[in-house]
Symmetry: C2
């Protein structure tokens, strides 16, 4: 489901215009990514928690010339599904 | 940031009531988790993609009695941060 289709479905459910709905989804994404970049985690009821994890620096090798170089440490966003979402997925038959 | 504070900040930005804002966030979470449970992935502009991954069955051991048992296969929700979020986190000084 693309962002466009998500907006459409949400606007139908809320009985709002596409424009209003797109605005609120964009604002939500902006708040979450801003909080993450400030080192804060964000919990969304029904979904789960967004947080950041620090990946340490590591040495990698350029396969073209065999040269070793340092990959600097970085922050990556991770998502931990909450109980509601986990339970919803638990009901799915994984043997299909 | 708890769900309550997220709603509050979003309602301030949109100039909506807490009630309206809570409704749209709940509806959004519901759409995303429903799509995931239907095997669909969901892309949110500015954040990234939610999708499911199948974890195969595995054998585990009960440490209390040494008995081995089968953990059934299950679906877990995973999140892949998009470019905008990755770039936002790249600007952070990880050496703090």
């Amino acid at each position: 489901m693309k962002n466009k289709d998500l907006i459409k479905e949400l606007s139908n459910r809320m009985n709002w215009t596409i424009g209003e709905t797109a605005d609120v989804v964009a604002a939500l994404g902006n708040i979450i990514s801003t909080k993450l970049s400030e080192g804060d985690s964000v919990y969304l009821d029904g979904l789960g928690q967004f947080e950041t994890k620090k990946k340490g620096e590591r040495i990698s090798v350029n396969p073209a010339n065999g040269q070793r170089y340092l990959v600097p440490p970085k922050l990556v966003a991770v998502f931990k599904p909450g109980g509601t979402l986990k339970n919803k997925l638990k009901e799915i038959d994984t043997n299909e």
